[in-house]
Every structure is written in structure tokens, then in C-alpha cells.
């Protein structure tokens, strides 16, 4: 509540200085970039060219995961209308199918580029940064054109998104111009793709690695916009630049820090990362869940080379410093372990043996044949915050419409808050060497209310 009121007063200050900025902000919407030429493609037949562009656009859209936010109903992909819960209220995603009235059917490539680079809609209104244009602005003209071509090749769906429900005064869109002044750094980044003229293998392994790093950085910071979930936000909903990839809570789930991948029970490797990103399962860490599940489902359609490059760049982000000394408090908590705590762990053990063991016991077929890691390696069970372990028990890993990848039933309707807390206490005590979590039924109750899912 306090956070909200600070955010509100900050916004009111912003409102005050908007009057004059709005008057001078015309340049912000000016399509400065429109003159930039689309990179020349190598000489080929027009049809082959078009197919290649569509394929490239489809792969980029998969990396950007456009379909997840821009889809409310499974049978109407890209038609928008999905509510996005932000700290500032609910924003509904827009229709990006080629429908002329309600979608982007009437948009030119310049219109689309303006939205991707500056967050400006075709009619000139400013888009909310829930749409990650602060990342898409770094994409090359050719890549934006490829996504445009791909979206234009989808089925047109007539659908208008419901009106946003934002806290006052954020419904007043010109305020975003001020936000952009502070937080939008427009500009194309090098895409790391070998140019056509020099498309030979790099001369040395180091050069190859450098090339992959550059490509990975472009993809992660640009189309994939990983930081949008994995970087903490300031009060105005912008990423804190000095805390890049330090993790954040998003849609009720912890988006883990991407800078501590080497501190996992088994440090992440390049192979584990690519397997995780492409299949949603890393057999030394666990399965993707929550908002990350659709991301991995989508990345299955990206190219091998791009996912390789993303993994290489992610591994280059690892902090070499010792873990933060925030462990002191939990250790203290553990030192004060009481017989009541032990009783909870024992109750959790009974629950585990009937509820979880058929898949998660050491010798369960799911563990021995299914490439599922022991819970001792699980990212959620070893995390400092019990949030994801609790969310996984509550929500499971859904398998709606027969999606690929791991499935886990949801236990929100089966177990009580106190039982889920006991179960989590047992998982932590039995499978992890990390200090006990301090949690009780109230923590679970709070998490249960955070999402609209049952």
C-alpha cells in the first residue's frame, strides 16, 4: 500500500511537468527512423525471399513470445485482450492480427516500426511500457520488418480489447512521454549476425565465442526482453539498470536472478540452459512453470543457433562475487528450530508419501525414466524464497490443450494452506541443504489470493 502511494505521488509530480513536455513532445512521435533502409537481402527469387522472411519473422516472434501476451483465447492467437496485471492496474493487450478495423491490418511497416521503436501507436497515441518497446527499440530494421511480415501472414481476427483499468492519473497517456524521456533509450544494437559478405566461419574459437556473445546479447536485450521479468523495477515500473537480471516477482511467481546460475546445487551449464530454454526441462534443475512455461514452449520454435547464443550470453552474466550475506537471518531462524517446526516437517512427510512420492520419490518411474531431477536439485526447493515451491504446489504445471513438456497436477483445491506449508517445510528440510524457510499457513493464503487461478 505504501509502495502504491509513493508511486502515486511520484506520478502526480510527473503530471505537473507534463503540461510543457506534452507541448514539446511532438518530436518523440516523429518517425526519425523511417528513413533507415531495410537491409538488402541477397539476390534470390521474390517467393523464396518472402518465405525466408516469414520464417525469420516466425523465429523472432517465438523468441519475443508475442503470442503469449497478445492472446486471450487459444483459438484466436495474436487477437489481444489478455489482461496484464501491473502494479498500476490492468492493461489489456491489443489485437496484432491483420484485421483492418481492430488489428494492425491498416498499419504500414513504418507504423509498426514506430510502435516497436518508440511505443507510438498508428494514430499517435502512446503505448504503455507493459509492451516492451524499450527492448524492441534495439532491434534491427530487418528484424522488425520480418516480424511485421510474419504477423501480417496470420489469420485476421476481429476483436477489440476491453478498456484498461489503471490507477489515476495513468489513464492519461501523454504522461508516458515523460516516462520515455527517462527510461526509453532508443537505438539499434548490433545483431551479431555475420554479414552476408563475411558469412564464413570465424577464424578462431575466441572469435566464434565473441560472435555468439554479441548475438546472444542482442537477442536477450532486444526481442526476448528477458529483463522485463527478470530485473527488479523501480516505482515507475521501469527496470533498475544497476540491478539488471537480479530477479523480480512477476504474476505471483519469482522470476529468478539470472546472475547466480552458478550457485545452483549443480551449476548451470550451456547444455542445461539450452535444454531448458528449448524443452522447458533441465534434468539437473527442473521444469519451467508459471509465466516461464509459455516462454519455453515458444522458444521451441526458435532456431538452435539463436538459443545457443542466448545461453552463451546468459552464462557470461554470472556474478563472481560471494553470495550476498542475506543468509544470516534464515540461519538464525534455523538455529531456533523448535519442536513445533519438527512437527510440521513430520506432517509434511506424511503428505509427501501419499501426495508427491508416486512421482517425486527417489525410485519413482517418473524420476528414474523421465529425466526429472531429484527435488534435491530443484531450483524452487533450493531458492531463498519459498514462493515458487508454494506456487508449484498450488498451481502445478498445467497441460492445457495437450501442450508439450512436463505436467504436474495443481493441489490448490486438494490441500489446505496449513498442509501446503507443512509440505514445503518437509521438502526444504529433506531435500535441500539450505536453511529452513520461515513460513506458515498465512504465507500460503497470501499467495493463493495473488492469482485469479483457483
Amino acid at each position: 500500500m505504501k509502495k502504491r502511494s509513493i508511486g502515486l505521488s511520484a506520478w502526480l509530480c510527473v503530471l505537473a511537468c507534463t503540461a510543457f513536455v506534452a507541448a514539446t513532445s511532438c518530436w518523440l512521435v516523429h518517425p526519425l527512423f523511417a528513413a533507415t533502409a531495410v537491409a538488402e537481402a541477397p539476390v534470390a527469387s521474390p517467393a523464396a525471399d518472402e518465405t525466408a522472411t516469414l520464417k525469420h519473422g516466425a523465429e523472432l516472434a517465438a523468441i519475443g513470445d508475442c503470442v503469449v501476451c497478445h492472446t486471450a483465447k487459444h483459438d484466436a492467437p495474436f487477437a489481444g485482450g489478455r489482461p496484464l496485471d501491473t502494479p498500476f492496474g490492468v492493461i489489456y493487450s491489443t489485437n496484432i492480427t491483420p484485421d483492418r478495423q481492430t488489428g494492425i491490418g491498416a498499419w504500414s511497416l513504418e507504423d509498426f516500426t514506430q510502435a516497436m521503436r518508440r511505443g507510438v501507436s498508428r494514430d499517435g497515441h502512446l503505448l504503455y511500457p507493459a509492451f516492451p518497446y524499450p527492448h524492441f527499440t534495439h532491434m534491427t530494421d530487418a528484424d522488425i520488418a520480418a516480424i511485421y511480415a510474419y504477423l501480417r501472414s496470420r489469420d485476421a481476427v476481429q476483436a477489440t480489447a476491453p478498456a484498461n483499468r489503471l490507477m489515476f492519473p495513468l489513464g492519461f497517456r501523454p504522461l508516458i512521454a515523460v516516462w520515455n524521456l527517462f527510461f526509453l533509450n532508443p537505438g539499434v544494437e548490433p545483431d551479431g549476425e555475420p554479414s552476408v559478405a563475411t558469412a564464413t566461419s570465424p577464424s578462431t574459437p575466441t572469435a566464434a565465442h565473441e560472435e555468439q556473445l554479441l548475438r546472444g546479447r542482442y537477442l536477450i536485450d532486444g526481442p526476448a526482453h528477458c529483463a522485463a521479468c527478470h530485473t527488479p523495477m523501480n516505482l515507475l515500473g521501469a527496470e533498475k539498470r544497476d540491478e539488471a537480471f537480479d530477479g523480480n516477482v512477476i504474476e505471483g511467481w519469482q522470476a529468478p536472478a539470472l546472475t547466480t546460475l552458478l550457485r545452483a546445487p549443480k551449476p548451470w551449464t550451456h547444455d542445461q540452459l539450452t535444454a531448458y530454454l528449448r524443452t522447458g526441462l533441465a534434468d539437473q534443475h527442473g521444469a519451467s512453470a508459471g509465466p516461464m512455461q509459455p516462454v519455453t514452449l515458444s522458444l521451441a520454435n526458435a532456431s538452435d543457433a539463436d538459443v545457443d547464443a542466448m545461453a552463451t550470453y546468459l552464462l557470461s552474466l554470472q556474478s563472481t562475487s560471494a553470495p550476498a550475506s542475506t543468509d544470516a537471518a534464515p540461519q538464525e531462524a534455523q538455529a531456533q528450530t523448535t519442536s513445533a517446526d519438527n512437527a510440521h516437517v513430520q506432517d509434511g512427510a506424511v503428505l509427501f508419501s501419499a501426495t508427491c512420492a508416486s512421482c517425486h520419490a527417489a525410485h519413482a518411474p517418473m524420476t528414474t525414466f523421465g529425466d526429472r531431477p531429484s527435488l534435491a536439485l530443484s531450483t524452487a526447493v533450493n531458492a531463498q524464497d519459498p514462493r515458487n515451491a508454494l506456487r508449484l504446489i498450488l498451481d502445478g504445471i498445467p497441460n492445457e490443450l495437450g501442450t508439450r513438456g512436463p505436467y504436474m497436477p495443481a493441489f490448490a483445491g486438494t490441500l489446505t494452506d496449513a498442509q501446503i506449508a507443512d509440505l514445503a517445510a518437509f521438502l526444504r528440510a529433506h531435500f535441500s541443504s539450505q536453511p529452513a524457510w520461515s513460513l506458515d499457513a498465512a504465507n500460503v493464503e497470501k499467495l493463493r489470493k495473488e492469482t485469479s487461478e483457483p
Partner: protein
């Protein structure tokens, strides 16, 4: 000793607290409607209602039921006098081998108690955890729809 309230009747049971509810229902109480299918929460043949929620009884230890009331398909009616939802399943001939049906009926029952006349979309989303290997899903949907219309 623990007390389990099933279909309105309290039962005193002397069993290991980690025994799955399904085993207690079938082995101790002789209620054979709910079936063991996968034992992993992936098929739904064991579904019963605990409190007001449909649950996989193969994955719930009896100790975790607590004071919540358990309802099984036997509580909805009998062969002579089937309940409304059971009658709709019969009218629509929704069973082929029948193994999944008790679970299907109980999951659907939980929905109808919450949403008396559900839309097709609501029915499909709600029934998603339960599988029928014979493929009678369309008849199952029709039966639930029919029972919902008479609400």
C-alpha cells in the same frame, strides 16, 4: 483411529495416516465407484469431492482430509434411483468401458454445484484433468450440458 465422513456418514478407521483416501474408500469402506487409474494425478479415475472441491483421491492421504466431508458417486444415487447427473450420463450413453465415469461424474458434480448452468467453455476447462481412453468425451460433455440445463 481417525474419523472420516463419507457421504454424510462418519466412519472410524484404524489405518496408517499416509494411506491414500482412495484405498480407504475402496478397501476399508467397500465403496468401489472411484477407481485406481494412474496413481499420479494424471487420469482422474479416482476423483471424489472433498469439501466442495474435486480431488484425486489416490494422491490425498486420509490424514489430510481432516474434518472435510467426502462424497463419492455412491452418494449421488443408486442403480435403482440414479441422481440427476447420473441419469443424464445414462440417457446420453456416456459410458463405454465405464472405468473413468465415476471420476467424470464427481468432477462434473462439483462444477454444477458451483455453476448450475455452465457454458461449454466452462465445462471443457473444468473437465480437463479427467481422461477417457475410450473417447466418449463428446457424450460426457452432452450429459453434463443436459444436467446443467435442467438446473
Amino acid at each position: 483411529m481417525m474419523t472420516l465422513i463419507v457421504n454424510g456418514v462418519p466412519h472410524q478407521l484404524d489405518i496408517d495416516p499416509s494411506t491414500p483416501l482412495l484405498y480407504a474408500l475402496r478397501n476399508q469402506l467397500g465403496l468401489h465407484g472411484a477407481k485406481f487409474g494412474c496413481g499420479l494425478g494424471q487420469c482422474g479415475a479416482c476423483t471424489v469431492i472433498v469439501g466442495d472441491q474435486p480431488v484425486f483421491s489416490c494422491l490425498l492421504p486420509v490424514a489430510a482430509v481432516g474434518t472435510r466431508a467426502v462424497r463419492t458417486i455412491e452418494g449421488l444415487g443408486s442403480a435403482d434411483k440414479p441422481g440427476r447427473l447420473q441419469q443424464a450420463f445414462i440417457d446420453r450413453q456416456a459410458a463405454q468401458c465405464g472405468y473413468c465415469i465415476a471420476g467424470m461424474v464427481m468432477r462434473a458434480q462439483a462444477l454444477l454445484e458451483r455453476v448450475p448452468a455452465p457454458t461449454d467453455e466452462q465445462i471443457r476447462a473444468h473437465m480437463e484433468p479427467n481422461l477417457c481412453r475410450c473417447g466418449t468425451h463428446m457424450r460426457i460433455l452432452a450429459a453434463i450440458r443436459e444436467a446443467g440445463q435442467h438446473a
